[in-house]
Symmetry: C2
Subunit: 366 residues, 2 copies
């Protein structure tokens, strides 16, 4: 399996070279405004004295870690600020595999392609647990595959690409399975602010030495390029993860951490609610038009992606290129996310033209 | 051997708790101003449209890579922008060890403590080549230790902690040794702007499939907290390093990259020359006072550290604490850098009070 990023770039490049107007629904890059306090934080930082331009603590600015620990109701020592959700997942998976408690990494199918990439780089072996057609993960299916060889179970809720949201029962069971098989549940919650169902349950709500949560401000503040994320780890993993973080990155970038801290402190909950509402409208508009186009799809409970299937039009790179050229809509081939979604295409709702895109699809498939 | 950072924090904390005025010569954090264009770049970036707040290319902003490739006269594809020099060294060492061409990493003694830390994390085995009393590295000593088991030779010029600068002949020989033993020479040149001798030769001046250069803007622009560095790799290593970089970090922080790009474009060479002159004055003042104190020391040819030895006062943590309490000067224990400098103390010239510090030392040892 290929990693998402190069494929994503291939699709983007193809779309850019196209001889027509193309609506970009490829990337996971928000197109909406970050909190105003974030911009203000950067402006403020630009005039800070030079000692504030030097290394922050390796595990992140103290005030930022305190803010995170307070909000998540976890001990300060459990929080490491990382270079985005990407590094958070790397640290968590590396430490899970470094425990000498197995080499197997349980992933879902479909899967966010960075997870198999990291698994391979870290010398682990991926096993895939299929999810239901609507993206629901059955904990019993995970339990059936888990064994003493399982080092980590990596899940993502709200989910990219399915839009599924795991509720309390699922999350509780996943932690229990990790405990039963001496594995680490790694719960990637980067879309936690984009739950449309009201059912999202953070794995932090269940205390366990076998669960790690990874999170990020990339999506919630519309700043994927800033690289500020964090991980919350149990004590036995927090210390080795700190050392690894220090030896790989020394620390994360301070201007970005400073701006995120200001934004965390000063941004009203309305900002996040507003984004959620805007995305709900895009989901409605896009799925209504998909209905009109006769497509099969699952309405997302969270995150901002829609998987759609058009009869006789599998989710290959070739068909993605045809849609760019002939319909003027760029999506991601479903095969990028695993065999189970090879017939599907993923559309990211990161454009105000979501409805127009669906109308174009309806016309193309008419 | 412990890593520098925790020890550095221990010394800093001790100095902060001290009941008196303490001159901080512990960290490698510049105390001088960054280029004005860097601050201006941050201000500009704060007002850029939201699409510029999203992921830059994984290997760095294209314009920044172009600027680096032009200045260093290397192919664009060889340049990866990293999360500071720390990640650059991590990538280089990881790929050198991943070639299946040995597990040994040749390091110098004394050594910058992150290298042994990374070696251990990556499953390599460190072998130390002692340098001369004045910090000079004899390539023949490296050649004597190098073998088919050698995966990497990691050197740092201008050197932390010795202040030595390796000239053209040494650099050329080190590349040749790497070629002879099918190893990778990793030349860490983060202090390249701080050569006081005029003899510094970048390993980039010698083209070879067996040399990697790592560098950073942390010291040259006085922004250790921004985390913008880069590595220049031969083609066979550049591709796997790109993949690793993507899987570990996705990409580096964009506000910092943007600000560094503006500073690179708009900063006059006078800025760097000015810093060098200011440091030369600090070196003069500090070493003059060390003479007065009867200390043994090597006058640094580059970087901004001075190793000094006081008769009967070895470079232990205990003695570092005594100097903080009784002399009001905080340095680093030499033992942090390896057995060969256990009798020594390292003082970083990152304070305008360097001469005052040396006067205090003279008085203490009088």
């Amino acid at each position: 399996m290929d990693y998402e990023k190069p494929l994503f770039f291939r699709v983007m490049q193809y779309a850019e070279r196209a001889d027509r107007d193309v609506i970009d629904m490829v990337s996971g890059n928000p197109d909406w405004e970050p909190p105003e306090a974030l911009r203000e934080g950067l402006r403020e930082y630009a005039d800070r004295p030079v000692d504030e331009f030097q290394y922050p603590p390796s595990d992140g600015l103290r005030e930022l870690r305190e803010e995170i620990a307070d909000r998540r109701n976890v001990p300060l020592e459990s929080v490491i600020v990382t270079n985005g959700g990407g590094e958070a997942n790397y640290l968590a998976m590396a430490e899970a595999l470094d425990r000498d408690a197995g080499k197997e990494v349980l992933l879902t199918d479909p899967v966010y392609p960075y997870y198999p990439g990291k698994t391979q780089m870290l010398g682990g072996e991926a096993t895939y647990v299929p999810v239901d057609g609507d993206g629901r993960l059955d904990p019993e299916a995970v339990r059936d595959r888990a064994s003493a060889e399982t080092a980590a179970i990596v899940v993502n809720s709200p989910n990219n690409p399915t839009g599924a949201v795991y509720g309390e029962e699922t999350t509780r069971e996943l932690v229990a399975i990790a405990e039963e098989s001496d594995a680490i549940l790694i719960s990637d919650e980067v879309y936690d602010h984009f739950d449309q169902s009201g059912r999202f349950t953070s794995a932090l709500s269940i205390d366990s030495a076998h669960r790690v949560v990874t999170a990020s401000f990339s999506k919630s503040m519309a700043i994927t390029g800033f690289r500020v994320g964090y991980t919350v780890l149990p004590p036995a993993l927090a210390e080795p993860a700190r050392t690894r973080h220090m030896l790989v990155n020394v620390t994360g970038s301070r201007p970005a951490q400073y701006a995120v801290l200001q934004a965390l402190r000063e941004t009203d909950p309305d900002y996040y609610a507003g984004t959620r509402e805007m995305l709900a409208e895009r989901i409605d508009a896009f799925t209504d038009a998909l209905d009109a186009a006769g497509a099969e799809y699952t309405r997302p409970d969270g995150a901002f992606y829609v998987l759609a299937r058009f009869e006789g039009f599998p989710g290959t790179m070739n068909n993605v290129e045809r849609l760019i050229d002939e319909a003027g809509v760029a999506g991601m081939p479903g095969e990028a996310f695993g065999d189970s979604r090879a017939e599907w295409l993923r559309f990211a709702l990161v454009t105000p033209r979501a409805q127009e895109a669906a109308d174009r699809l309806a016309e193309f498939f008419a």
